[in-house]
Symmetry: C2
Subunit: 569 residues, 2 copies
Amino acid sequence: MSSTATTLKGQPLDRPVLDALLRRRMFFTPSFEIYGGVGGLFDYGPPGCALQANIIDVWRKHFILEEDMLEVDCTVLTPHDVLKTSGHVDKFADWMCKDPKNGDILRADHFVEDVLEARLKGDKEARGQKVEEVDDPTKKKKRKQKTEAIKLEDAVVQEYEEVLAKIDNYNGEELGELIKKFDLRNPLTGVQPSPPVSFNLMFQTAIGPSSNLPGYLRPETAQGQFLNFAKLLEFNQQQMPFASASIGKSYRNEISPRAGLLRVREFLMAEIEHFVDPEGGKKHPKFSEVENVELALLARDVQLAGKTDIKHATIGEAVRTGMVDNETLGYFIARIALFLKKIGVDMSKATSQEQREALAKELSEKGSLELEVAGVADGKVEISKDLVTIEFRKKVENTREYTPNVIEPSFGIGRILYSLIEHSYWTRGSDGGDEARSVLSFPPTVAPTKVLIVPLSANKAFKPFIQKISQKLRKVGVSSRIDDSSATIGKRYSRNDELGTPLGITIDFQSVQDSTYTLRDRDSTKQVRADEDAIVAAVLSIVEGSKEWKDIEAELPAFEGQEVDVAVR
Amino acid sequence: MSSTATTLKGQPLDRPVLDALLRRRMFFTPSFEIYGGVGGLFDYGPPGCALQANIIDVWRKHFILEEDMLEVDCTVLTPHDVLKTSGHVDKFADWMCKDPKNGDILRADHFVEDVLEARLKGDKEARGQKVEEVDDPTKKKKRKQKTEAIKLEDAVVQEYEEVLAKIDNYNGEELGELIKKFDLRNPLTGVQPSPPVSFNLMFQTAIGPSSNLPGYLRPETAQGQFLNFAKLLEFNQQQMPFASASIGKSYRNEISPRAGLLRVREFLMAEIEHFVDPEGGKKHPKFSEVENVELALLARDVQLAGKTDIKHATIGEAVRTGMVDNETLGYFIARIALFLKKIGVDMSKATSQEQREALAKELSEKGSLELEVAGVADGKVEISKDLVTIEFRKKVENTREYTPNVIEPSFGIGRILYSLIEHSYWTRGSDGGDEARSVLSFPPTVAPTKVLIVPLSANKAFKPFIQKISQKLRKVGVSSRIDDSSATIGKRYSRNDELGTPLGITIDFQSVQDSTYTLRDRDSTKQVRADEDAIVAAVLSIVEGSKEWKDIEAELPAFEGQEVDVAVR
């Protein structure tokens, strides 16, 4: 259970250092900070925006274009009746309780979890066992809460651990019973909170001037897609199966938003609804293209038991053995894995212990990699109840009338973005007495900026060369940024490594004479030198993915300039 | 005042026919229609989504990349205090009145306008003058309202016309006086509505589980950008001037949303905040690049007088003569014109009579092409009051402390999209007894799909050729769609012309023998025939904008196949 996250290079991950970098370089920042901030709301700065736009771009190409999906853009504002029918008005809720002494509002399952975990930690300390801090990014920053080193009965330890394993399966009444049974108290006040009550997570508003139309901000994009089903089927010339897709904001009024991007109140959602005829075993014509994709899978019974034992298998095996119900479902699971790999998520990380914890948590709640299947109970935790009740989703084909099933690969882009950042992070060795320098090794496809252009100094002679190379790069569709600040070249490249820019072009006095430039690789800090055309061609081939840095090193002469201490001005 | 809109080819625009096309082809559709719909909310279907994504893509390249702007993505949810400080809580409102008889809620200025216009129309009829319907897409579909042919005094006619010219300048009290003075009555009930009261246009909600943090959905994206000013300045290494930019949804609870996309309650906004030191005359280093751009301008005094006399001038002249206050403001006006031209908006349309009406209306309200300047009163209708009150926006430079001014080019993407559709629409002649066929001549840059691939029939022999050409197109980054439905080739191309796809590739039996295909131009319906590589190269050059159809016709042999009546199956 206790284990530490690691960086891209296997170093222990110092999350506060990473978080400080992400704020300093404005990947994202708490919204309304000068007004004191609002929990669960974040703004993306320039590098975060560009990273997000690039991830969306890959998502659109990978899913919408390659699979000929029908994209829709539906409104966030949704009238009450729609979400009443879908079941969200009655059931889209978490359990919350209130501390009668200080008025604290607590999310019941998180509260039970936190107190029991603190007791288990105290027990370990009392037993003299080593207590490692679990580095769980989904957790809110712990309130200063002293763990008392109190030894527990062995049977109690076992009971607590069983409760924690099944924490997501309790309803409000059961959570209330646990609070009473174990006498769980708010560490801030020392009192038991009130019994849990249901709290609907939808933001409410009223539409129209007379305010007589109650409405909500959508908690997911699915309803807009379902309500357009008949029109989309018509657009698709009555052909089934087909998929609709949507990317847009969704809103959930979380009781206790967690630090960072992993549980927020406003988030960008990329959601697909693949409508399929349930007859015919849900075969997929392109399944053979993905059947050898290897996956780390959490089987249904393992998830329901609150366990995290991962099974490695190809998706072909998983479908054959029934762990995944059918080809179409398997096809999308594999396509999702390929998408995540393409943007640079480290697929091996999903099998490390600490990621398993988070993964199990996510899969058993509504959230990031949610995959819903209606009408199919096998191979899936959750059944989307709203899908089988809406009348219009019937289709007459010859004389057979059926309710299409739907497979719903749904992504929270913010969560993927944060994982990608964490998986791309490492620190450069502190040789020579320097401090360790942070690097974000984003793949060129998603890197916010592809090339940094760095003149040696503010000397006017460099200006035309800066203009020329930046125009050439723009012409071939490569985004670049110029850093002509007065910092040393080394400092400028360090800043740039923190922004994750894969390539750098230096313009120096030799450039003025012979129009050659150096090209620097972020990850190795190695440089080559060549004329403008060769440099632009090298950049383009790396950005397009047709070559890697080692190919460029083999083709162009190395440049041995000292990076850090070139004097400027 | 009365005049009719025209199509791209100068034909009279039949708006109901265009609107039916847009619904049939699912460019956009009323949201929640199966629940009765909600005024001012629309969903975009696949072609609308693609068109929107392409417009955003051009916007991002044209502004953010080419001008090195700092993009941010801020939350829609905004706490009360922020919008209180900005003035929106107190002032972001329209005047509404209520019909005491049937409870109808009316937007006061629209009500006055509608009743006076109906009276003027009745007067014209009584005088035997020809009454043309003004085709104003900003108007809600008129309720069935009989115009009574009643002749008015000449002085009354003049008074009504003066009121209408200044309709946007009245406050609630003044609108109430007009209602009394002219005895304006709701045609549905025959009674005078109640005096106008202020109605705030922001959607309200509550953030957090205890619902103790009142908030709103942002009515514009500006506040998020202003609140991040200090962080952005830091990100920009303390260099001024700089611009931030944002694209995202904004929300306005319109009292009477108008039909179509021109006045909606949820809309996509692309907004730029260019922060500039007010000293130094707001010179712009790249002004010379745009000074010869020709514009149709509505001078400040003309706007304030409610008139629409357009002056044609280059932006250089406009700045020299003081009609536009300074180079930086002029630079952005010209860049906006270039952007609109690039995506296919017909700039000459802005000078036609009916567009002038709409334009004058838009410029004098909060909306589409809004350009706000703080601290500069000349050359601009509106001063953004919120900009000068927020404390943090001070900057110390050496020892001079100043409040940056801001220029705010702000777009409602939906309005641009609708204009673009209207400007691209025309109908193909009805020769041979056929009905007139609709065409949307989008430029290739923004067209939802670039190429339609059409096999002659469902014959299996065509399958591998379809696959091959579609893969080749995808490889060079060109989006295509396959239409292998059983409709005739002619029908399929007609459908496609309605979707605005510029090119079509036909695969026929000759293709199977010699791998040649025909390439069809949407606008001329002319075709050429060549082998795969030449066809793909031709497509790419048109999509990239390096060639036009006439170049392709000059290079490749014409193909004289009959388009409409090829028998299939």
